[in-house]
Amino acid sequence: MRACKFCIPALAVLVACGGAELNQTRATDVQAAVLAAEQVGAGDQPKPALHLQLAKEQIEAAKRLAADGDQANSNLLLERAKVDAELAMQLARTEREQDSARQAWEKIRDLKKQSTR
């Protein structure tokens, strides 16, 4: 999380330098969501990784639209990117919890097997 605190302003600066018309507040929000998703390991699991990738592509597309002066659609794409990043993070967390639950039940099965031996 400490790393995240340093990264977000840096990303915001980069975004600011890349395209003058991109909505800075929204862009910062989206980058924060992307970083948060990466930190929970969204890039390591297929489905979350897909949404993470979509988020990143949409950020790039938003930049291009902003550069073309289409601010409205750029903002919409940033919003899409944000919700994809959030979904990537949520899916990663869900899979992690489901794994933990599976392992917990597996542990019980092992314990019962030991009892029957």
């Binding site: 409205a72 919409l76 899409r80 959030e86 979904l87 869900t94 019980i108 009892s115």
Partner: protein, 352 residues
């Protein structure tokens, strides 16, 4: 506030869907259809219970998409808002799945804990049972050890008593051992001439014998009476029986158990010396007290030939078996018996 949101979201979205259906607007984009389906799934499934806030956000996103659809059907804006609405519904479903997984995990952990407690309780019970069994076994071992020690001590005492008794007897009387049997031979003047009354000296000698017999409490005893060869064999037989009976009765009075003692008259059989001399006849007039082997072990004196040979047995005998008697004039077969002279013919009448 949160409750209001929960109630407001799904109702509002349903209203929006209904409006869209009845308004006769243009066909929705594929994205909007997907968003509507995802929202329906989120609203009707477990998600509404587990993540009402997320469902509300999905409803608001869908509502926005529907509004854009109404104003600008088929536009990129509609598709973008529908996309966002779809993702909101998926987000709500995923968050609900996470909550469900967390509940499952908690349930599993609780179950695991219960299982462990149960196992621990079982192990404690089993351990307690083992401890009880061990204590019981140790107690039994201790008792057995004590009993063994007592038995050893009793055996030792019995051996000492038997040794002492034998030593006493050996001092007082002629004692020999044959095939595990102890034979005490009392000769000399035991009875008044021709009678069956024990002399005072004989009684004293029998007192010593009775005391010694106490050391052989479990062994059967046979009192065998013998005469010399003077007089008729029949009368000698009867006399030897009566004298054996007299000795048996005396020993019983001195504490020897009547159930393990019997008397047998042997007459003039089995002479130990020649009947030709006065000394030999005195040796042949005798009483032998045989301490047999342990009960149940047949005595070498028990044999079918005793019946044929006419040996008599005391009517008061509790065992009822016959004793061997050699024919008149024959020496005993035992090699240990001294043979001092050849047997003499039996005289017509007993004479002692």
């Amino acid at each position: 506030m949160s409750n209001m949101r929960r109630n407001y979201g799904p109702g509002f979205a349903a209203f929006a869907l209904l409006g869209a259906a009845c308004g006769g607007a243009a066909a929705p984009s594929t994205e909007l259809v997907s968003a509507r389906n995802a929202y329906t799934e989120a609203r009707n499934g477990e998600t509404a219970k587990l993540n009402p806030g997320g469902v509300h956000e999905a409803a608001e996103a869908l509502q926005k998409a529907e509004a854009v659809h109404k104003d600008d059907a088929g536009s990129q804006r509609e598709k973008n808002y529908a996309y966002i609405a779809l993702r909101r519904s998926e987000l709500a479903i995923a968050a609900a799945s996470e909550a469900l997984a967390r509940q499952e995990q908690q349930r599993a952990e609780q179950t695991y804990k219960s299982e462990l407690e149960q196992k621990s309780e079982q192990a404690t019970q089993q351990s307690s049972q083992y401890a009880q069994q061990l204590t019981q076994t140790q107690r039994e071992l201790q008792q057995n050890t004590q009993t063994l020690q007592q038995n050893r001590q009793q055996l030792q005492e019995a051996r000492i008593a038997a040794d002492q008794a034998q030593a006493e007897l050996r001092q007082a009387e002629a004692v020999r051992e044959e095939e595990g049997r102890l034979i005490i031979s009392l000769s000399g003047v035991l009875f008044e001439p021709g009678g069956t009354t024990l002399s005072t000296l004989a009684e004293r000698r029998l007192d010593t014998v009775a005391h010694a017999l106490g050391a052989y409490a479990n062994r059967p005893i046979v009192v065998e009476g013998y005469t010399d060869a003077q007089g008729s064999a029949r009368m000698n037989q009867e006399l030897s029986q009566r004298r054996a009976d007299a000795v048996r009765e005396y020993l019983e009075r001195r504490g020897v158990n009547s159930e393990r003692i019997r008397a047998v008259g042997k007459g003039e059989s089995n002479p130990v010396a020649s009947n030709e001399t006065a000394e030999g006849r005195a040796n042949n007039r005798r009483v032998e007290i045989i301490v047999d082997r342990e009960s149940g072990t047949p005595s070498s004196g028990d044999s079918s030939s005793s019946v044929e040979n006419g040996a008599t047995q005391s009517p008061s005998s509790t065992q009822g078996s016959s004793r061997t008697a050699n024919p008149p004039g024959n020496f005993p077969s035992q090699s240990s018996m001294p043979r001092t002279s050849p047997p003499a013919e039996a005289p017509a009448a007993p004479r002692e």
